[in-house]
Amino acid sequence: MENTQSYFETWLKAQEKLFDGLIENTKRTQQLFINQQYPGFSGDAGGFSNPYSTWLSAVMKSLSEPGISNQVIKDNLSRIFGGSNAYTKLYEVWLPLMKAAQERSVNPEAYKEYIDPSKYKELIDKVFGFDSEATKLMLNQAVQFLELLSGSGQQFTAPWVDAMKESLGAFPQLAQGHPESFMNMFHSMFNAFDNTVGKVFHVPPVGRDREKLELILRCLDDLSVYAAKNTEYQHTIYITGLTAMDKVVERLAEKITSGEEIKQFDEFFDIWIDTSEQAYYKLFKTEEFAKLQGELLDSSLDVKAHFFKLMESHLSDLPIALRSEMDDLYKTVYDLKKSVKKLEKQLKEKAQ
């Protein structure tokens, strides 16, 4: 029971840490917008940063208002927040280009000098809801959790876990690089661990504990496959985003060449949305993307399935109903209900 208590304590701490992380992330996001300045840009930058501060406080106030209990309104506020965030982020990404255009001539070939790829990545993250920090946090916690389950006294997984933590630190950078290297790295780590410390798991059977240790190893491997697939997926999305950006510039150049002028940001926003949507539709339509998406989901389901199995194994000593036991119960209820309904129908037909 001591081990169980320690498990719950660590689980609770992990939850607290997760929420602390979320709060910190929210604060950073707010700060980013409240303090947003564009030094060197001719004009009154405060002209739009001030309303932003006011707006943010209004949003925060309204969200915390106890009187607003309507979930649809709350959800909508959140979505509007997300949409405007992306709108403003696009503004931020293209601001240096606009500034350059104002000061001197810019040509389509040179536009990339003015675009910060990391900011553009943030914009794409917002559209698709990617959060590399959250992914890192999730993987980190999963590893901590597995470390605990493996037996804190033995520290069997410690070397592996340390190596994984280091690798996780590099996640955002890797996300922009070569996805296959991520997969290779995790598998090399896993193999190295399996061939050294992991040998201990291959000793003669030690009953349920051995099964648990094998499951832990399996979970670690699942996590590595998931992380690699996730990176590959995000990489594909980013690359398409960059291609779309090239197309946006091409379209703008075409318009300018034909004598049109793009004076409003909204016009630019429309071109960006339409061009990006087309580029992603082209990607989404490919068999390769459909396959990759399927594999990503599959890998996440593997993680989930083995984690559940592991948790069941740990919770089996407690006086609570486990998921597999509830599944059996649901099946029994389903079968009984079906039989009763069939009999009732037969009775009704006979009565008629």
Binding site: I80, I256, F265, Y280
Partner: protein
Amino acid sequence: MKAPFLSFDAQSLIKELGDFNTKFIKGVGALTEIDEIDVGTAPKELIYQEDKLKLYRYSRNDPNTCRTPVLIVYALVNRQYMLDLQPDRSMIRNMLDHGLDVFIIDWGYPSKVDMYLGLDDYINGYIDNCVDVVREEAKSEQVSLMGICQGGTFSMMYSALNPDKVKNLITLVAPVDFSTNDALLFNWSKYLNIDALVESYQVIPGDFMNGGFLMLMPFNLNIRKYVDMLDVIEDKEKLLNFLRMEKWIFDSPGQAGACIREFIKYCYQENRLAKGELMLGDRLVDLRNITMPLLNIYASGDHLVPPAAIKPLNDLVGSQDKTLYEFKGGHIGVFVGSKSQKELAPAISQWLHDRDSATQSVAETAEESESAGIETASEEATESTSKKPGRRKA
């Protein structure tokens, strides 16, 4: 010296973004003043309940002019109140106004106890029970079945198994041939490991399904929609219209594991329904058994269920009286667009009246409809594939 590439005016850009944020602040204020988002307000009465399913009959102030009751079978993916989103965008009210006796199934929100419910339970269990209740309530031997989207596919399956209970079949944006890759969902589903998904979730969360729908047009659905919304946010009525739709979009029930597994596997991945290989319980679903009049409606701009997945139904059924109706618009526009209210709903009502028993009141209604121009609108928009020329009256 190259030609100037862009000619933005910094001051006006700043003003533009400033205006945008000002709209935001006002909009958020307007949003927080709204207490209730009412949907599905047409009066109705609960007449049957089984597990989480509820069957309603819509109230009428005057007697119906079409004798055969209409049972609406909605998809499991979203909620049926889409058909009665608001009083002036309500296919239900429109059908009631045109003299129909309308019943609707509310599938409810499945929980884990429902995870083993399969296609057989939905089609041969729930729908069959509802059809029997409607027949009894309306004192009618048969019903007109009107299936929407996935509910339309269910209605085809049911009608093929129970042609004696279905007088007319209407399918709206309902897929039958899943071999097409014209829409992303069809392509993506082929690579979906549905067994692992169901094993993991048991009841697939509505949010999971919504995530997939949003991915179909991520830039428009995640960004532009909310940026554009700011232009109407100060108009309370328009804002409420927007919010009603938002409520519907994100009000997604979970999917009972066994049912979604069979639907994805048998339909999307193996195309068994169109191939005539689908078994429900111990019975083969043969679409050629659909011999009743068929009205098959598709939307030309549907990005969820493309016309290529819908149109083949008319070639697969055994009906002599079959009509293919093209709606110029998208998947959702079929139910809430102004064209839907002005053209489609009256056309459906007219089509049903035409196939109903000839009674004094029916004849009067048809006359009224024709004088209101509904017949003309219907014929213009309808591409009839009927082998028998003219309309049939029972």
